[in-house]
């Protein structure tokens, strides 16, 4: 249970990252736009002719400013959609659309309630008894100020509805509205009710949050310290976004009047003050205490820790450690993204992480005490310091104090880290024992570590859908399916080889008909097809890479095919079986079975993922082993061994791992056509066992990477007898 709760919280935290990722850019636009359209700034630096009102640049900066504001003004909607995407398990686009709809519906319902109860008068003005700041215009709808909370309520709720209903099967008459189509419908209904409910509940919550915000704001420097400690300690769990966001974005982080409006949330207050900076003597450090301290330890402190780790690295590993620590430090200094650095010592030395939490926590408090009020959009890097500190001037932000405080923190981090690393011999980067490679840990490592420690949450244990398995089989196996889609009543699939489609099998899945159009197969199910498509796509994600040929009359002597592996053409040209090779050794199959291609293009590429076994000295032949264990000889042209390498350019080396489609050889077609006795190029499986047979899939024109032949694995009868 505890694990499950943690898993959900973890996902919530992660789902915040998508909407959060827009903030630096929006902040950049807003920061630059507002700084250089600020009349005082322009006057101070005598830039009237360049930036004054009426200039082209001014107009452009005004646009930047407004575009940046648009993102911040519509954060609730952005969070609603972003969180829904992050939390939806599959068919995320449907969840996104539903969240947008639900957000509009919820606010419209609230608006209707406000109008019905005369909280908003007919002329659009607010009733006299309404508290200031409790009603805002969101997406053009006058509604209760629910802020990012409102967006998150929508995102989480819609995602929950989506995950519950996106595969719902409705009675036949209504089945057009089943599956994913049901999600926006149910979301609309549910959020209409939630909107009505919020009208009654939210004013109470607003009062509560205001009070709590007042309490936290009232707790002074100690409150700031506690906030800092908790936020930093949550980083490894990815849960910090859940924790700090309310302080940044909602009344929990305090409320303040700016520009005649009541603004809630530390970050919002700062930006509102920034927008009206002409009237403000010094930005409020009570508002910025949730982030101003970050500049101190992100630009100065953590790089000090990195320097200590570098100096403590073993001499022979210093170079490698330097590369890692330097890039991680630069990321931290410039953008304020600390994870690359923090994760480099978090696992090997949790004690160092405890030190980091304490030092960073106090930095928030120190910044608060020093009345430093530098805002940020995302994290405390140089970029934000420049935009919201330096550009706004020391008189309003006290940003200069960050430098002495930062230098002290740099030294503290440096000496404490150096002392502890040496004293306890922590295996920080460059100090590990010789078998482990120098590297920084990534978030993926954190997750992997955590899952192996606890009883890892198994998300993929949902049993596989039997109907989808039969459909897949009927379409000739996963390897034969190139595309799956659906219209109102039909499942529309494209296959590679239409001969492998088994109509009878498809009909047995409840289809009323199967229609063939070349490589297109339409299976008529009726309106419930949307659900079938979702299920099939889900099944295909994990289905085995197979090809079924049971429909073909191969069950005679050879027995039944249990598995097929596809081999694609290494070159564009004309394909055929081996009898087209004008060389007896190849044409008779003495070298092994396979197929041949007459190249029309000059680039030979890897037919599948695999490894280069060898490139022959004379460059005309390549030995290749696919990742699935098939040995291939790709022999370019006939008697080309006599050319002793002329006409070929080798682009790979022996033993190299290679992905399908990556180049192997380049041919000089003009030269080869003149000098080779033939350019027909056999692609041969040299090591087939008795139960493996080749089946040609393509004759005539073929593209490099298109399936050329299949290796069919037949059931081995003798072995089965032995088992019995």
């Amino acid at each position: 249970m505890k694990d499950k709760t943690f898993g959900v919280l973890q996902r919530v935290g992660r789902s915040f990252m998508l909407p959060i990722a827009i903030l630096p850019v929006a902040g950049l636009l807003l920061g630059i736009g507002s700084s250089f359209t600020n009349e005082t700034t322009i006057a101070t630096y005598h830039l009237q002719r360049l930036l004054g009102e009426g200039t082209l640049l001014h107009a452009f900066l005004v646009i930047m400013n407004k575009v940046g504001s648009a993102v911040f003004d519509n954060l609730p909607l952005i969070f609603a959609v972003g969180v829904a995407i992050g939390m939806a398990k599959r068919e995320k686009e449907v969840a996104a659309l539903s969240a947008a709809i639900a957000y509009l519906v919820m606010n419209t319902a609230i608006n209707a309630m406000l109008v019905l109860n005369n909280n908003i008068l007919e002329n659009g003005s607010l009733a006299a008894d309404m508290l200031k700041g409790t009603i805002v215009s969101s997406c053009g709808i006058l509604t209760l100020q629910t802020g990012v909370f409102g967006g998150i309520i929508v995102g989480l709720g819609v995602a929950a509805l989506h995950n519950r209903f996106y595969r719902i099967v409705l009675p036949n008459a209504l089945s057009f509205f089943g599956g994913t189509r049901f999600v926006p419908i149910i979301s609309t209904l549910v959020y209409m009710l939630i909107g009505i409910l919020l009208y009654f509940v939210w004013p109470l919550v607003q009062k509560g949050i205001y009070a709590l915000g007042g309490l936290v704001t009232g707790s002074g420097y100690i409150g700031t310290l506690i906030f800092g400690l908790i936020k930093r300690a949550l980083i490894p769990f990815g849960l910090h976004h859940v924790f700090y966001m309310p302080f940044w974005q909602t009344a929990l982080g305090g409320t303040m009047e700016a520009g005649g409006q009541l603004i809630q949330g530390g970050q919002n207050i700062f930006f509102a003050q920034l927008a009206n900076s002409a009237d403000i003597a010094h930005f409020s450090a009570d508002a910025t205490r949730y982030f101003s301290g970050e500049f101190i330890f992100m630009i100065f402190g953590l790089p000090g820790a990195a320097l200590a780790m570098y100096q403590c690295a073993k001499p022979e590993k210093k170079k490698a450690a330097k590369g890692l620590l330097l890039s991680a430090s630069l990321t931290c200094i410039l953008t304020g993204i600390t994870e690359p650095l923090e994760f480099s010592f978090l696992f090997v030395a949790p004690a160092l992480f405890a030190v980091q939490v304490i030092l960073a926590g106090t930095a928030y408090m120190i910044a608060h005490m020093l009345n430093i009020a530098v805002g940020l959009t995302f994290s405390g890097g140089l970029l934000d310091l420049f935009l919201f500190g330096v550009l706004q001037g020391n008189t309003k932000t006290s940003w200069l104090l960050i430098i002495p405080a930062g230098i002290i923190y740099f030294l503290l981090y440096y000496f404490i880290f150096r002392f502890l690393i040496r004293k306890f011999d922590f295996k920080t980067p460059g100090r590990e024992d010789d078998d482990s490679e120098v590297r920084l840990y990534t978030k993926a490592d954190v997750r992997a570590r955590r899952e192996s420690d606890g009883n890892g949450q198994a998300e993929n244990t949902e049993d596989l859908d039997p109907v989808s398995a039969v459909i897949t089989r009927g379409l000739g196996g996963k390897c034969n399916i190139s595309d799956v889609d659906c219209c109102a009543t039909r499942l529309r699939c494209s296959v590679y080889d239409e001969k492998l489609v088994n109509d009878a099998l498809l009909k047995s899945t409840g289809a009323s008909g199967v229609i063939h159009k070349g490589k297109g197969v339409q299976i008529v199910y009726g309106p419930q097809v949307a659900v079938i498509k979702s299920e099939l796509e889900r099944y295909l994600e994990t289905a085995p890479e197979e090809l079924y040929t049971a429909d073909h009359p191969v069950s005679g002597k050879n027995g039944t095919v249990v598995q097929s592996i596809l081999i694609s053409s290494p070159i564009t040209g004309m394909a055929g079986d081996l009898t087209m090779v004008p060389d007896e050794a190849f044409a008779t199959g003495m070298m092994g079975d396979g197929a041949a291609v007459l190249p029309t293009d000059d680039m030979v590429v890897a037919p599948e993922d695999g490894m280069i076994s060898f490139v022959f000295d004379t460059k005309h032949a390549v030995g290749f082993e696919t990742d699935l264990g098939i040995s291939l000889l790709i022999h370019m042209g006939i008697d080309t061994v006599k050319l002793e390498g002329a006409g070929f350019e080798v682009l790979v080396r022996n033993g190299q791992k290679i992905k399908k489609g990556e180049p192997l050889l380049k041919l000089d077609l003009e030269y080869l056509n003149k000098h080779a006795s033939s350019l027909v190029s056999p692609v041969i499986c040299t090591e087939l066992s008795a139960n493996q047979k080749i089946r040609l899939l393509k004759e005539g024109k073929i593209e490099a990477g298109e399936a050329l032949f299949a290796v069919d694995f037949y059931k081995e009868r003798t072995k089965q007898h032995e088992k019995i």
């Binding site: 076994s613 060898f614 000295d617 030995g623 022999h635 061994v641």
Partner: protein
């Protein structure tokens, strides 16, 4: 176990076709046949393995045969190499 050495005379060395012929001939015998060039071994029953030797004209090919029909294999392999290489 029986062994013999053969100096490759074919200008082109062991390329695809001779490798195929050797592998097919080796497949007729139950004996285990190993080819060596400069100590590097190759399974004479596998085309890929033989080609990976990259044997060139003038190099000495060592042939090692072990198994119940090694006498027949010895004669057969020797005759084949004389004929094609």
């Amino acid at each position: 176990m029986k062994k013999f050495e053969y100096i490759i005379r074919d200008q082109l060395g062991i390329h695809a076709r001779p490798a195929g012929l050797i592998a097919r001939r080796a497949g007729r015998y139950r004996s285990r046949i190993t080819l060596r060039i400069g100590g590097r071994p190759a399974d004479a029953g596998k085309i890929m393995s033989i080609m990976m030797l990259g044997a060139r004209c003038g190099q000495t090919l060592e042939v090692e045969i072990e198994g119940e029909d090694e006498d027949a294999a010895y004669e057969g392999m020797k005759a084949l190499l004389e004929e094609i290489l």
